[in-house]
Each structure stands twice: as structure tokens, then as C-alpha cells.
């Protein structure tokens, strides 16, 4: 038996559904962004959820202490590409 959607398709659809659902009641949403791999996936899902609009919330980099330099470089690039703050 062949299933049409793979497990990654289903996880993706669920995450996108959740992000869009938040927009119904949220007044001022924000996405916490750590530049780790989980954040990278979450940001990618947000871009998919709201395309062709940019994600309707800013990214908040919890910048309380030192981070590795390489993380800042990727963060700035991703923010520019997504059209987010």
C-alpha cells in the first residue's frame, strides 16, 4: 500500500496549520530564533505557511549573551531572505 503523504509531509502540514491558526487570535506574535537547526526548520515552515506574503511576525533573537560569530552571519542572511525584521 502506498501512502500519498510521507511523514515529513504530514509534520510539515501540521506545523503550518498551527502557525496559521495562531494568526487568528494573536495580537502581536513573535518567533523566537536561536539560529540552531530547529529554528532554521521553524523559519522555513513559516515562510511556507504564509507564502507569497512574508511571515507576519518578527524574529526575536534572544541575544542575551555571547553567541558564536557564525550564528550571527546566518541569522542576518535568513532575515534578509525572508523579508522579516
Amino acid at each position: 500500500m502506498i501512502d500519498t503523504l510521507t511523514h515529513l509531509d504530514r509534520l510539515e502540514a501540521e506545523s503550518i496549520h498551527i502557525m496559521r491558526e495562531v494568526m487568528a487570535d494573536a495580537v502581536k506574535p513573535v518567533m523566537l530564533y536561536s539560529v540552531g537547526k530547529d529554528s532554521a526548520v521553524m523559519l522555513h515552515l513559516a515562510r511556507k505557511a504564509f507564502y507569497p506574503s512574508p511571515p507576519p511576525f518578527p524574529l526575536l533573537h534572544v541575544d542575551t549573551t555571547w553567541k558564536f560569530r557564525a550564528m550571527y552571519e546566518l541569522r542576518d542572511r535568513m532575515a534578509a531572505e525572508s523579508g522579516m525584521e
Partner: protein
């Protein structure tokens, strides 16, 4: 914990009422029961009794003034799902996840990377060049590296599948007392 305090202040300062976070249920035993929509009091407290049941794909995001919600859209993803999806979708990630020769010191059983001159070296510590990568990225300099030769995405996944220690092992933050400490952090607003 720096991460906890900084987050609360940042959220309060700008009046955000909903914050998306990247926590996953498979990361830690006590997170298996965390909701996707997690309600916080005005002081960011997490009250286990006030969390709402989540049925079907119906989420109740109503809240009173001053309350906020943390939403975890990737709750049901595992570490392997994340890596497979990064590969499938070609998602850019920080080079630190890939092995490269980096200056490191060994301290309290953790391999710490000496990123630049901000790193406070203890007496007698001399950075050595080792081929290392990171499985998780927390606060610098608190995240430990692992010795590795995995320099591509496939190799990283391969290493992950063949490895025998859990993802969070490299974080100092977990070292202060098992399960209960994780929950305590949640109540303090860490997640």
C-alpha cells in the same frame, strides 16, 4: 540562567502576546506532555493545571489580558525528522553543525570551542585544534562540541543514527539535576 531572564525581559518590553518556540517533545522525557499551545501567566509562569486539552487539530488560543502563549509548532518532530527535512528542503544551517578543525579546550568533561578572544581561558588551559562539530547550539560558551569527522549533511545524519548518546548531553544547562530541573526551568519560563 541567562536564557530565561533575557527572554522574559525581551517579551515584556515589546508586549508580544504569542511567541513561537522550537522545542520538541522528543528532546526530554518531561517534554512529552507539553502542549503545543502553552499558556503563561502575566509573570510568564507555567501552571500545569491551567493547560488546555488539545483535541483533533483544534487549538484554543483565547487568553485574558496580560496572559501570553508559547506555541511550539514542531513539537511532534524528532531530531531525525529535523535533519531529514533540512536535507529534503535544502535549508541553510550554521556551519558549526559540520565538522571542521577548531580551537577547543576540554573543561569538566565538555569540549568548549574558543571562538574569539571573548572566551575566558582558565589558568593552564591551552586551546588545541580538534575536528569537532556541535549537535546543539545553546549559549556560547556553554555548549559542548563533539569530536567528529562528519563534514556534510549526509555524514551528520549518519553519525547521528550511529551515535549512542542523546542530543542534549552536550549542554551544561542540563547538568544540574535531571528531570525535575527541566520542569523547574519550564515553570520559570525557560521554554
Amino acid at each position: 540562567m541567562w536564557k530565561t531572564e533575557g527572554l522574559k525581559q525581551a517579551l515584556d518590553l515589546q508586549g508580544f502576546d504569542v511567541a513561537f518556540g522550537g522545542a520538541r517533545r522528543d528532546e526530554e522525557k518531561s517534554r512529552a506532555k507539553e502542549r503545543i499551545f502553552s499558556f503563561r501567566t502575566a509573570s510568564h509562569g507555567w501552571d500545569p493545571k491551567r493547560q488546555r486539552p488539545e483535541l483533533w487539530n483544534l487549538y484554543n488560543a483565547r487568553k485574558a489580558k496580560g496572559e501570553s502563549i508559547r506555541v511550539f509548532p514542531i513539537s511532534n518532530w524528532t531530531e531525525l525528522d529535523i535533519w531529514q527535512y533540512i536535507a529534503r528542503e535544502n535549508i541553510p544551517i550554521v556551519p558549526l553543525y559540520f565538522a571542521a578543525p577548531r580551537p577547543t579546550v576540554m573543561r569538566d568533561g565538555l569540549l568548549l570551542m574558543v571562538d574569539d578572544d571573548r572566551f575566558p581561558l582558565n589558568e593552564g588551559e591551552v586551546p588545541a585544534l580538534r575536528s569537532v562539530r556541535f549537535r546543539t547550539l545553546g549559549c556560547y560558551p556553554l555548549t559542548g562540541a563533539v569530536e567528529s569527522e562528519a563534514a556534510t549533511l549526509s555524514e551528520v545524519i549518519q553519525e547521528m543514527l550511529l551515535t549512542t548518546t542523546s542530543e542534549r548531553q552536550g549542554r551544561i544547562i542540563d547538568k544540574d539535576g535531571g528531570d525535575a530541573s527541566m520542569e523547574k526551568k519550564k515553570q520559570e519560563g525557560y521554554f
